[in-house]
């Protein structure tokens, strides 16, 4: 995110920062007010005080705009696992922070809308992974790798991390409660499964 003036492709001409931010803000507001599939470009343009063409000029598709808008505000922060030497404590803290983030009403709404948008648009899926789940996975994997008491194979570590993240994401998508305590319990189970 936060490319000041250029899209990324071959035509980096001068671009109004004011319009760009107004569009992303308006999109965010409307998404949280009316939901993903009631979002219209016309409404975004009207609220942002912008011509429709300005939106179509810089975002090729509606989902691209949605992804930019939702990832623009840091409702979903790819929290990194600390390394204090105590792998259980570190992973618990990591999972707790994630639970706080995607378990909050706003974070859950953001995650759900991003998931829905990513579902049909591989490009959005890529962006979501690059900005959120990727760093999340990498950070957790790295922390497990650095834990002396864990002798698991890389493949096992990957499945373990996916089970922890997936378990939490699944609860959110299924509209089940996701608490810090629940996240901690999941982490304890999976880490014990890795031999800790």
């Amino acid at each position: 995110m936060t490319e000041p003036a250029a899209p990324q492709d071959g035509r980096p001409r001068r671009r109004s920062e004011r319009a760009r931010v107004a569009i992303l803000d308006a999109t965010n507001e409307l998404l949280h007010e009316n939901g993903l599939d009631n979002l219209s470009i016309e409404a975004v343009a009207a609220r942002a005080g912008v011509g429709k063409q300005t939106i179509y000029r810089w975002w090729p598709t509606r989902p691209a705009l949605v992804a930019d808008a939702l990832l623009h505000r840091d409702d979903l922060e790819p929290l990194l696992a600390p390394d204090t030497g105590d792998v259980v404590k570190d992973m618990t803290r990591w999972a707790g922070a994630l639970a706080d983030s995607i378990g909050s009403p706003r974070g859950a709404a953001t995650l759900r809308m991003l998931t829905a948008a990513a579902t049909e648009h591989p490009e959005i899926s890529r962006r979501l992974h690059e900005r959120f789940s990727g760093p999340l996975q990498s950070s957790a994997l790295e922390r497990l790798k650095n834990a002396d008491e864990i002798t698991a194979t890389p493949s096992q570590r990957r499945h373990a991390v996916d089970a922890m993240i997936g378990g939490m994401v699944f609860k959110v998508l299924a509209h089940q409660k996701l608490t810090r305590a629940g996240a901690a319990e999941s982490v304890r189970i999976v880490l014990r499964g890795l031999g800790v």
Copy 2:
């Protein structure tokens, strides 16, 4: 599913079974051809050889139709865990069957579209849980509960099951590979975490 002639509410009048099935089939075809957000009621009516009013008469919203259609064909079967006495073998078989189901191209597409539809419509979410994830969870929970070698609390069993299901669902939604072998490895880790 498969209520022969009545919707379920207070007005169970005579209803054309031919039209009902034609509509669900047409919806399924169009969903897999064009994706969720390119599905138009007009196109469904045209392909089914049906008046639009017939669709609007029996399904209140587009997502309701989508859910009925996707759950009508049994692309997603809520596979139940067997009980042979060997809990690792049983859970591995259960997870393997699930991986086959939602890991196949068609199953993955169905799961993604249902997830997207459920994201914005709690009603669909409820239906999906009732028809798919609910039985899946219950069956796994029951099997774990019956395993003498597992002394985990109910809460721990729930988190363990969510970690297994969530880990697999997460891989599908994130467009990662989901294999039978990977599912087996996840199961092994989580069960070991439960003390097996």
